[in-house]
């Protein structure tokens, strides 16, 4: 009886530990995606805006020694 209870508790704790690991992986990946993410269709407007600024001469390659 006691062995069975111990087994159930171990199983529950194992599931919780695994669930925490899955949660933590997901949380870190979501945070990483906020910091470092790909540009796709959702970013089209921003990308096009920047590219237009380059192509019409509003932005030129930076050649200074340091940022202002």
């Amino acid at each position: 009886m006691f062995d069975r209870v111990t087994e159930v508790i171990s199983l529950v704790l194992g599931v919780l530990a695994l669930g925490y690991l899955v949660y933590e992986i997901d949380r870190r990946q979501r945070k990483l995606h906020e910091i470092w993410d790909v540009l796709d269709g959702e970013d089209a407007i921003i990308t096009n805006s920047l590219e237009d600024m380059v192509e019409n001469g509003e932005l030129r390659p930076f050649a200074g020694a340091a940022l202002a």
């Binding site: 990483l32 910091i35 470092w36 089209a44 805006s49 237009d52 030129r60 340091a66």
Partner: protein, 184 residues
């Protein structure tokens, strides 16, 4: 084919915004051709948007910019002025507080398929709160650009890296908890 033509072909050309032009005061680096277009060697176009928050990330970027520029000498870096950066943030409010933002346009992907699919990646340096985190982020960014500038599938490389980072970070956390429990 120019980027604009590629985007028009892909149906993603957007009307130009009314942004005030800035006077040209800087000489062009060697990576740029005499007509102002990046050379064929340029895989990437790098844009820095910084509205001026007094943050650790901004200081780290300024302190290390010369090295970043030297490491990425094959690709043009476009730095938006404070005015242009503020205008950018006003137009794209969800980005406020995430700058300095370093956006990298993959010209290979842009010329091939426009902006409908993958066409680059972005580092929101402003989300890294400590100088150490910001420096590590910047170093990882520079390393990734150099290591993957000839990549055939840059999107896959980025997503694989993010998966690895997420998994290794979670394992590290789990191990740290384990170490604390046994008194180390």
């Amino acid at each position: 084919m120019t980027v604009r033509a590629a985007r028009a072909l892909a149906g993603t050309a957007e009307p130009q915004d009314n942004v005030a032009a800035q006077p040209l005061t800087e000489a062009l680096p060697a990576v740029i051709q005499p007509n102002g277009a990046p050379s064929a060697a340029s895989r990437f176009r790098i844009f820095i948007v910084d509205s001026g928050w007094n943050s650790a990330a901004r200081r780290v970027l300024h302190e290390n910019f010369a090295l970043i520029r030297d490491l990425q000498r094959d690709d043009p870096i476009y730095v938006l002025s404070r005015e242009k950066s503020v205008e950018f943030m006003r137009r794209h409010g969800s980005r406020i507080g995430r700058d300095p933002i370093i956006a990298v346009h993959d010209m290979q992907a842009l010329n091939k398929g426009g902006t409908t699919g993958f066409h680059g990646f972005r580092l929101s340096l402003g989300l890294l709160r400590t100088p150490q985190q910001a420096l590590m982020g910047l170093q990882a960014f520079a390393r990734f650009l150099v290591e993957h500038r000839h990549s055939a599938d840059l999107e896959a490389d980025i997503r694989a890296r993010l998966r690895r980072e997420g998994l290794s970070g979670a394992i590290e956390i789990a191990m740290h908890h384990e170490a604390r429990e046994i008194g180390e």
